[in-house]
Assembly symmetry: C2
Homo-oligomer: 610 residues x 2
């Protein structure tokens, strides 16, 4: 059989699978799948090279399904490749199956969870860079929808891809004209997409997305291009079934049984073709391993040092012993101090410019390929990439986030630059570690702990220099705390983290002069919080706790402590309760009630209570 | 004096102000200001028309400083316009001054807080649309930096501006080549920017940003254009001071006293020109008021109804009595049910396509011009616009956010579509109201409460249909709660909201059969939570509470209740503790422990405790 006929048959098999699966599941996006059947057939069974026995073969091409709602046809393609059992397709969306409604890495060939649109291209950029670093012969293919090209993240990624000259990256846009609730902005106007991608420096190839020859030629052209390539494929949503073709209102709707019957009649019997025979393997297998050590040589400090400065030192030291560590920056590296790593390891440092969504998406691509990305920016600006962070969690990624300039303590720049809700972003993520060190030594200890940790971790750093509290080489495990002051006469426990530890220490000394003793706890591990020890320490301190943080009242340390101590202690909570403004750090910490005088006052009031 | 000379002198005054202010403040971004001095002089003292006595004059042109770190020169321009006293400039960044480090509406001429880059153009789009609706003769000018054009949000806004044919919108990009930590991606390559903006459908005008004649001609051209226009101005960062011009490393650095002295020597004496004389007023004053009522006619329900469906009904009813209400959608209106409003009030409905950042930025623009935007999408996708939501809070905006498809209860689509961290986004914002109704009637009541509320409010809705609990016209004030079940024999209080109210009701009935009575509280106002009444109800219920929510463990209702009940009650918290997956709603609620059987179990365990 001629190749074209084989691929058309495979496409038809994919269509039939997609329709049956979604009808069986009672939900899903069949018409979305129908428009991309030829594209998927050509990708999986002619263009891409991958080792069906090993999703981690370093020689593999990578496939990212950015339009995640097309999951059914992706599962169908893997079934045709013999990677999934065909009957498993009928378990789509069941709680017992790895074939979820939108893809997650529960299915081992999926490296990044998708379903929140416009994120796959950034992941592809990260993977392509990783593969270049690891000298993989593989290429990265990102399958996108047209509607998702309205997402700004796509253009951040497009910018990056050109900047990094990623000729090993090929995007395919399934331009089927119809979004979810109406036609997309450009409809079938391919030239509108072409102008945009060309302006962003990409090689653009326009085709009829249902014409196998045009698809194959497009991939040939893309393969030769010296720039990142995008294939703009004009397609019909619902293609192959007359009553679905190009009709609005069918997005996300499975066919009912009688409708399915009609559709299958139109599509004809399941073509007999063993698609596995047409799989292309990479020319050779590859393994790529990087020497990874985590106990880096700690620095010695002699004076007050900002934790953000210590982070920069620690990242550099870690980078010397761990080749998997890469750093990403959004033009703030002189503020976050990632700049030292950037200077020493330029081949492992990636400038994304002011584009945080893409920065995080790229880090997911790096993580998927076995690297350990450290993504640092102002903690406030991590909110720009909250959706990408969310999807990284669902991707079981191994990414280390660092947010500097946390709290009102940054001072006069004002609230747009202050991270006041960053703990609220990371704490909810199941399994995410949130560390908030108060001095340079604990910062380095936390960096080691988070580097070792397999999963998403967040380090919160501070702008101003703060005194040294700990000593070199002390350990700061995730889930721990440190008791800085303790006596048998403690009447209240003061629980702080980061900059408020220093305010608490000042308050401690002043209270001591007045004969009032408090226990001082550095809750540097905000999540998971050391519940057992917090309970024990607070019980000894008369079941009274003052919690003080440079963060909004909700979502941060106060919430964590309230949960831990539920029912066991009286809590007074000092945090930022209003929208703050510009001012000197000391003035702001006073105005918003989180400095030493306020801590003292809260301690005394709590002692009086009940 | 010739106009050109006047404007050059004003530009020099602005430079001198910017340098002195930042040196006095000890912080700020003078070199950023120096590159845009001619642009600002021309904008404020030749091109824009505004009534200096009234920032709210509906005939005014609007100015958005997207590159918010240029605040000093913006303040200087307002001082030259006589709107601020010149001596106040020396109070830049002081805690006592409205002249903050990055602009906020504490200074009355600033309609949107900026400082997180790439957001101003979206605000401009919203304002331009609002002004078109209100038939303002004014135009919108957005001053942008080059570095921020890497932000995807800029391209979402650019897309929208063309789509809405906003010929009353003019962007100016100050292309000074240097970002914060290094050169921008395109440096001084204006053609790179030109290609992009042209591809996105804008009129592009390239100029030397220090040439007054070219600037004035560019504004003339922009004024005539039938599309949105962008003036790409090639400039020199630090222009006017030889040791600053085009030098990296000066971003965000004020001059020291000796450096300032040298700089002022170079700039020469303060030119004597009364800039106020050159202000252009609008041709006439305008007032624009919209009939706003909030008590809309409530709908009657007869069967189980999804709260998202009730939201759609309520929005439509509200829209009938309140002309200030506008709706924005990111291609999910058939899921959020904003579609009914879109159908009835197409002139008040704005499709942003799949671009949530821009959708929120636009809503800020609408809010700034006196409208009441309702922004609805999947709660999960609001995370895409978290930074814009954050900045809207600092803008003291009046925006109503609605997140549908909350929780695992959406079912088989899986986690990418589930909002599980949305309460954690909104709860931290000081002054933000978070409402989570459990049935159709409370949804309509909550919509009324949030519409009346002046500020940011968030409504969390659910995908599946749920039974009717309340009755028509019942009130659901922000900060309230409802006690659904109460007796003198209550041994535990069960606190729920949204979908878990129904699970709690099932558990209540089953427990009752076993002779166990619980108090059932619908904490529909998650923030602010009704602390006083929760304490009172839980005290009566033996100081034991089971809190159950369809949200991650951290950041949501559990945290809110733990804070409220600190020290007063034992709490058992049921929430989503793991990264969830696809499955049927009932199966997922069971697997993740938030359904009736789990509530029962938790109640019994809590009764046994202590």
């Amino acid at each position: 059989m001629e190749k074209r006929e084989v691929l058309e048959n495979i496409a038809r098999r994919l269509r039939i699978h997609s329709l049956k699966m979604t009808t069986k599941a009672g939900s899903g996006h069949p018409t979305t799948c129908l428009s991309m059947a030829e594209l998927m057939a050509c990708l999986f069974f002619d263009e891409m090279r991958f080792n069906p026995r090993n999703p981690k073969d370093w020689a593999n091409d990578e496939f990212v399904i950015s339009k995640g709602h097309a999951a059914p046809i992706v599962w169908a393609a893997y079934a045709e490749a013999g990677i999934i059992q065909e009957k498993e397709l009928m378990n789509l969306r069941k709680i017992t199956s790895v074939l979820e409604g939108h893809p997650t890495p529960r299915m081992k060939w999926i490296k990044a969870a998708t379903g929140s649109l416009g994120q796959g291209l950034s992941v592809g950029v990260g993977m392509a860079l990783a593969m270049r670093m690891g000298k993989s012969p593989g290429r990265v293919f990102v399958m996108m929808g047209d509607g998702e090209c309205a997402e700004g993240a796509v253009w951040e990624a497009a910018n990056s891809a050109r900047y990094f000259k990623l000729s090993n990256l090929c995007a395919v846009v399934d331009i089927n004209r119809l979004g979810q609730s109406e036609q997309t902005m450009h409809g079938h106007n391919l030239e509108a997409y072409e102008r945009k991608f060309q302006a962003f420096g990409w090689e653009v190839i326009k085709i009829d997305g249902h014409n196998i020859s045009q698809i194959l030629n497009a991939f040939k052209r893309a393969n030769k291009a010296k720039k990142p390539s995008v294939i703009l494929a004009k397609t019909i949503k619902g293609k192959g079934v007359s009553f679905l073709e190009d009709k609005n209102g069918w997005h996300g709707k499975p066919l009912k049984e009688n409708e399915l019957k009609k559709a299958l009649e139109e599509l004809g019997p399941m073509p007999e073709v063993d698609a596995k025979k047409y799989l292309k393997h990479p020319k050779s297998q590859r393994i790529f391993q990087l020497p990874k050590r985590y106990n880096f040589k700690k620095n010695t400090y002699r004076e007050k040092t900002a934790t953000r400065r210590a982070y920069g030192n620690a990242l550099l030291s870690l980078g010397r012993v761990n080749q998997a560590v890469v750093a990403l920056d959004g033009d703030v590296k002189n503020s976050t101090y990632a700049e030292d790593f950037f200077e020493s390891f330029p081949d492992r440092s990636f400038q994304t410019y002011i584009a945080e969504q893409n920065m995080v998406g790229m880090s997911l691509g790096f993580s998927a390929k076995g690297f350990i990305p450290f993504v640092a920016t102002f903690s406030a600006f991590l909110s720009r990439a909250h959706d990408q962070i969310r999807m990284a969690a669902y991707s079981f990624a191994n990414i280390k986030f660092v947010g500097s300039h946390s709290g009102v303590s940054i001072g006069a720049d004002g609230p747009s630059q202050m991270g006041l809700e960053d703990l609220a972003i990371f704490r909810p993520i199941p399994g995410c570690a949130c560390l908030y060190p108060c001095d340079a030594y604990s910062t380095e200890g936390c960096v080691e702990s988070m580097a070792r940790y397999k999963g998403i971790a967040y380090l919160r750093t501070t702008r101003p220099a703060t005194p040294l509290i700990y000593s070199k080489n002390q350990k700061f495990p995730i889930g721990g705390l440190k008791v800085l002051k303790k006596s048998s006469r403690d009447r209240v426990a003061v629980i702080a983290a980061g900059i408020t530890v220093h305010e608490a220490l000042k308050a401690y000394e002043e209270l001591k002069k007045e004969g009032i003793f408090v226990r001082l706890i550095d809750a540097y591990s905000v999540e998971p919080i050391d519940k057992k020890n917090i309970i024990r320490e607070v019980k000894e301190a008369k079941r009274k706790a003052v919690v003080v943080e440079d963060h909004f009242k909700n979502g941060g340390l106060g919430d964590a402590v309230a949960q831990a101590l539920a029912g066991k202690a009286e809590i007074s909570h000092l945090a930022i309760g209003k929208l703050p403004r510009s001012g000197k750090p000391e003035e702001l910490m006073d105005r918003y009630g989180i400095n030493a005088p306020h801590i003292k006052k809260a301690v005394k009031e709590l002692i009086k209570r009940k």
